[in-house]
Point group: C2
Chain length 545, copies 2
Amino acid sequence: MEAPPLLTELADYRPVQVLAEQLRATTVEDLFAQDPARATDFTLQAAGLRLDFSKHLLNREALAGLLRLADQAGLSAAIAALFDGEPINNTENRPALHMLLRASGSHGLDDKFTQVRDAREQMRQWSQRLNSGVQTGFSGAVITDVVNIGIGGSDLGPRLVSEALQPFRGDISCHYVANVDPADLQDTLLDLNPESTLFIVCSKSFRTEETLTNSLAARNWMLQAGAGQADLDRHFLAVTSNLQATAEFGIPAANCLPMWDWVGGRYSVWSAVGLSCAIAVGWENFQRFLAGAEAMDEHFHRSPPQASMPTLMSLLEVWYCNFFAAGNHVVLPYDQSLRRLPDFLQQLTMESNGKRVSRAGRPLPYTTAPVLWGSAGTMGQHSFHQLLHQGTELCPADFVLPLTTHTGMQEQHRRLVANGLAQSRTLMVGRSTDNARDALLQRGLDEAEAARLAPHLAMPGNRPNSVITMNAVDPATLGALLALYEHRTFCSAVLWGINPFDQWGVELGKEIGTQILARLSGEAAGGHMDPATERLMKEWRAAQG
Amino acid sequence: MEAPPLLTELADYRPVQVLAEQLRATTVEDLFAQDPARATDFTLQAAGLRLDFSKHLLNREALAGLLRLADQAGLSAAIAALFDGEPINNTENRPALHMLLRASGSHGLDDKFTQVRDAREQMRQWSQRLNSGVQTGFSGAVITDVVNIGIGGSDLGPRLVSEALQPFRGDISCHYVANVDPADLQDTLLDLNPESTLFIVCSKSFRTEETLTNSLAARNWMLQAGAGQADLDRHFLAVTSNLQATAEFGIPAANCLPMWDWVGGRYSVWSAVGLSCAIAVGWENFQRFLAGAEAMDEHFHRSPPQASMPTLMSLLEVWYCNFFAAGNHVVLPYDQSLRRLPDFLQQLTMESNGKRVSRAGRPLPYTTAPVLWGSAGTMGQHSFHQLLHQGTELCPADFVLPLTTHTGMQEQHRRLVANGLAQSRTLMVGRSTDNARDALLQRGLDEAEAARLAPHLAMPGNRPNSVITMNAVDPATLGALLALYEHRTFCSAVLWGINPFDQWGVELGKEIGTQILARLSGEAAGGHMDPATERLMKEWRAAQG
């Protein structure tokens, strides 16, 4: 994978550009008229998920062109390298083995798989311990609440999973604290009793500023409530690779679960980082979550490119970013339990592919990851959908639409589904000015007023979107869904020629943060800053009163 | 305001384009070197807020050019028309009078101001009734929990305000239900007792699908718990203009607070739509919230354009959207209590300005509202900041940075401030490849490896951002902050030549939603859809088992 040509250097780049140019002059409705079979042919199934990509500004010819680009970018070899455990994270000389975390077999990586199995066994035991009420706090009270302290990958994944699997939850309540803003921890602890609370501290280095700061505050809270230093092992677990730091903190090795450098934070919910989820939904359900992801791995590993759901979704991403200049991608889960999906996907896609140099360090002459955003439907319909329908930005959309509800309220849920399908269709068909004028005349407006208002009601349509359906949100389909987006992210990285597994861009901010903190704390060591930062620090000082 | 020239037709459009072209070849650090006074001169103060816009790719000449554009677009006249109550919502022939909702005087609109004052008195009484424990439910138990049922403007504003003012809250807990997904209401009611719960139903028409559906489900819950039809007046308030529908629902007129057609949903948190907030934080604090907004109104109404904070922020929006092709804008509140600010601003900006025709119905030859997104700092630093620093998308940013905390944990809060200032500075200064290589050599890497990795650590910098500070998040500064963004949105609409107060683009989706719901419910009346929607409906039917 070391130095393949860049996207714009691929043989089919220019031909695909020409196809995009041609399609720009047509509409998706025209494409349906020419080829009605696309409604069934432009769909894929995998691991309990179904993808409908028929409402895209894409025909069979353009799709074939994109698949040729994927071939020329070496996608198949890259997928093989990923699954074979090659050091594809080339700037850190590491493999990316998140698939092993959900694998049922070792795939030839016996040593690492043994570690994974041991960690799973630890997770199983802690999950069962807590769910069976055996774990007690310093006063002898049974633990009823678990607080996960972590940030980024140690927060967004577990938070999403335990919210999405709310109907599968047992008696233990799980809470999540991430922000260094002390209000985050303070608000969370407000309703909790130290005697029955257990913290899980997730930090590979055990040095992450936010996580360490919050953990120290949590320990204070516990000690002030009457726990002794020796009781901390009843109230603190850690997921980390720094056993020295945890020992100094007061967490014994028996309470520590591992993290490995061959798993990036944003790919780690399948590891012990997911412990809070395994506690929340029980070990059986957590295993189903892993199995759903493994099924998607198998699909991705074994399918030819044209039948691979992650590959197809990645080709659509590249299609709009690089051939239609789309700078964003909107994800719309029509399910309240999946409301954090956009937050999770922001990290996954933007931290992975928000890069500007190739794997070999060459500046890229094209755009990479778009801004990913979104919210739960139908909330967005009463907020930003106005822009999706009538704005000037191209916003390719993914609708994520579970077809049944766990609530038992079928009739109300039907409204949710109807809204999701309606938005997807409306984005495609739009409304002509003539149609808008007729509608206004039917409402009783006179000719002049109808003519005046019609342009405001008209909608261009032709706004591309995918629909991802599943029978229900359950542990298996959720696992498959997250793995789907992981692999989609990987494919896009291959097409863009970048390494999705590092994040060097966040280093400098941390360094400068340390310098500014020193300055705010009155230490000269922080060094002199630019005039604006100097002025803002002065302003901060004045506000301390 | 009827038919001014479009942005691209203004006399100074081309000259400003030339200035943008020149600035593209420079850096913000160069601009600081040439003009260090910009650190103080490129700042503004208003209503307890301070704006630092010195870290933008903008010099005095370009700023003057933008101000000329604002002048040529008729901004001053538009502001006067807004405050004078002229029917500037030209497609609906209405004024936009949200400022009157927070005004301490009538501004010549005596009739409407009387209605506002009467509504305020109703709010005051309900707030005091609930906070003094006088309001009891059907069993005689005191009401302890209030559930706001509303969506869009009837949800995002109140939800943001009551979360942001958490430290000011009294004994009543406020909850928010919006989504038609039955899980939203069900999850919320899980921990509540019908005997001590009061619902506030917010819907101007009392016909909003989500709100009506959830209200009916809430009424069922109440009746099933033992309340009689005659007890509903103890458990339901409504904010609406449809008193007939509320009477049919079982809410007497005495429990109804008004909404008016001269206030758009996304501008309505200042009205009775904010009742849940007035209950949560008490009437005194809600008045301070209104007063903070009024102070910003005064500033906006009376300041010359170059001294007006909303105007300046709007000019920056137009600058990046229309002269630098930015398609998004990121808002980063460095305060956990403001974590919903981006959600609120999404509706405010994207529903207001996600338009593609002028006020006169002419298609626009330029882009309007960008995608607005963001999350609370420092969360985003461990998620999408990688893309902000090293991605290929231009993401102009607003940092919102309160300088003190209500938690009492000063030292931890200092870390939050340091991180915010550091991110703002880092986006500007970046890191050269040489500097990155030196840093790697200092870490002990050999020459070859340092040279190989340096391009991955290098960051272009020069990424524009504003810093909005306030001494603390309190009712007054929060009111000022929301009013600031409201007026910024208005100014951008004026520059783009659009009407920010309608939302015709959401109509068609509702119509098609009704048709699809009919089809899913087995009624043929829904009509035939496109092949993709037909196939998806079949898939839904199959999943119902």
